[in-house]
Amino acid sequence: MTYQIETTGETFVGVDVGSQTAKSVVLRDGEIIGHALVPTGPKPEESGAEVLSRAIASPSLNREDVAFVVATGYGRVAAPWADTTVTEITCHATGAHFINPRTRTVIDIGGQDCKAIGLDEDGHILDFALNDKCAAGTGRFMELMSRLLGVPLEGLGALSLEADEQIAISSTCIVFAESEVISLLARGEKPQNIIAAVHHAIARRIAGLLHRVGLQQDFLFSGGGAKNIGLVAALQEVLGAEFVWVPDRDPQLLGALGAAVLASRASAKSKAEARAALAGAAR
């Protein structure tokens, strides 16, 4: 059972307040008409409000033009500006199904966690797994690497593709990896080889997470981590599987997009629930 996007001309917004970045997507008749990204500040409630107003302003709309707002991400617990909240796991699944209905597996690398989600043909979640209490392979981890190596975050992927030697990094623990990388630098290893090794260590760890859910094509990679071409290459190599790319979709916006899609379904769903409740009362 797949919900159809109703072309009512109404505007729906999803807001994904992550640990590092707040994202928002504006949707109308199944088309993205606006979006915004802002770094999450110390007050997630304010970051959410800011990204929401920026996203709405991007197609020159006002808050009154928006029919429904769904908040997701860890900041959803402080989102008085939203009509309802949904977990980021459901939002990522919904977003992935929306942009490509053949998606069966999603890997998301966010600021403070990684998740693997298995979907069915209707976009329903079959199973999911999150990394446990650990910054391994997350955006925060990559930021630390960027600082240690003196390379901007955006440059890590390209740099790692210049690696000319395989070196081993055993730890993806943010604390131990820091000391391991510092010793490698002290030993004179090249930054490109170190970062390539870091990407492979993360990829192996994600492969473990994915093992709990199972890998089925189509396979989608989302989150800020999906913008790192070196990590993408390492993951594809370790998993022996190609990601399916959807052109013109920012992988970091997938959760917010899913939230916007769920906002658009909120009215359709409540109608269906009313019908089900009526049928239940008749029994």
């Binding site: 329903h124 446990d132 769903k269 269906a272 049928a279």
Partner: protein, 404 residues
């Protein structure tokens, strides 16, 4: 609506520490025990007052316990070492009144960590400790012979402590008493799954724990009263406002008194628990029938019931623990399994994946690996919330298809 006897039980538990203290003044000995493989039939027949020890959910005590036992022991074991340490340092002021009122500690070596707990208590806090050996090969004849010998040895030691021989007449009484308690608990569990608006799982779970502490004859009588109230209320029509909550079955590592983390999250997110196979819940009451009032029969009955994951069992086909989860899941009308494991509780953590595979793809399964510290609470909330959303989404579609 709350069944009146629930309040009577709560009051009785609140009054029990003072009652135990008074009994001890008169010379009665209290046997505080760890693990449900300790046979209360023998403890009672020897004239000891059994109290099941073990609390959870207090990270401060976990830290204290960590000074005496490895940090790679589970938080449950560490916390209870911490409770004994606190009691030794400041007698009578311990947060755990059951530890304070324990004269002799009994521990079943089902889990090696529990054995270590007993050793640490004896070594550092000079408590009298008696161990009941539990065989790894619990399904074999050798295992049974070993456990019968261990049980007979424990009986001798208990009789020595009190000076009362365990007679078959006395054992007959305690076997019948505990059989009655087991029958009542199983009936209460059926009632809560059928009508959670009358009796919730949480109330039932609390009622089981009251049985860790109360005088067992008094407890048996209270259970009969509670069951009569529950069965009368079940016969009345259901109130509509309790329909529709997602029904979860909780499995895995011990959830000890004081540890409300997971259950609070489940209920706070609008779902409800309708069944469990926890060793502090229904599991110890299942498939346990002592055939005759003899020590051998007690040993066989305890070994042949649904056992803890700490006992290794390689064959999935005849694993009673797995078969019981599958059966209870179906019988309670649950819509998903929340499998809880504590950090360093290797048996349950390891068997999570095995349990998931055994139950198959048709059973939504969420594994939560946690400890008593609150640092992961928000992460766990998100997982449980997503799990509930997943079950609700599948359910809404079923309803829409039925209506259409």
């Amino acid at each position: 609506m709350t069944l009146p006897t629930l309040q009577r039980i709560a009051d009785a538990v609140a009054a029990r520490p003072a009652e135990l203290a008074a009994l001890r003044e008169e010379g009665t000995l209290v046997a505080g025990y760890f693990c449900c493989n300790i046979p209360e039939e023998l403890v009672l027949a020897a004239g000891l007052v059994p109290v099941r020890l073990g609390r959870g959910g207090d990270d401060g005590l976990v830290e204290v316990g960590g000074r005496y036992i490895s940090h790679q022991n589970c938080p449950f074991v560490r916390q209870n070492v911490g409770a004994f340490a606190t009691e030794a340092a400041t007698p009578g002021e311990a947060s755990d009144p059951w530890v304070a009122n324990t004269d002799v500690v009994l521990a079943a070596a089902t889990c090696p960590q529990m054995f270590r707990l007993a050793e640490v208590i004896e070594h550092f806090f000079h408590r009298r400790v008696e161990i009941l050996g539990v065989p790894r090969n619990f399904t074999s004849d050798n295992g049974h012979a070993y456990f019968r010998a261990e049980m007979a040895d424990l009986a001798t030691r208990l009789a020595k402590i009190t000076g009362n021989a365990i007679t078959s007449e006395r054992l007959g009484e305690t076997v019948a008493l505990l059989a009655g308690i087991r029958t009542s608990i199983k009936a209460l569990y059926r009632a809560q799954a059928q009508r959670p608006d009358v009796l919730s799982w949480r109330q039932t779970f609390e009622t089981v724990r009251a049985g860790f502490y109360l005088d067992r004859w008094r407890y048996a009588a209270l259970l009969e009263d509670l069951l009569a109230e529950a069965e009368a209320a079940v016969a009345t029509p259901a109130s509509a406002d309790d329909d529709g909550r997602v029904r979860l079955f909780v499995s895995g590592t011990v959830i000890a008194p004081g540890d409300t983390k997971i259950v609070d999250l489940i209920e706070g997110l609008g779902a409800r628990v309708v069944g469990d196979d926890l060793c502090t819940g229904l599991r110890p009451f299942l498939r346990l029938e002592v055939a005759e009032p003899s020590i051998d029969a007690v040993a066989d009955a305890y070994l042949d019931r649904v056992q803890c994951a700490a006992l290794p069992h390689l064959s999935l086909e005849d694993d009673r623990r797995l078969a019981n989860i599958e059966e209870s899941y179906g019988a309670t009308g649950a819509e998903g399994v929340l499998y809880h494991s504590l950090r360093y509780c290797d048996p349950f953590a390891f068997k999570a994946n095995e349990t998931k595979r055994f139950l198959g793809k048709g059973v939504p399964f969420l594994e939560i690996h946690t400890e008593y510290a609150s640092s992961d609470t928000e992460g766990i909330r998100t997982r449980i919330n997503a799990f509930i959303e997943m079950i609700e989404a599948a359910r809404t579609d079923k309803e829409i298809q039925q209506v259409a």
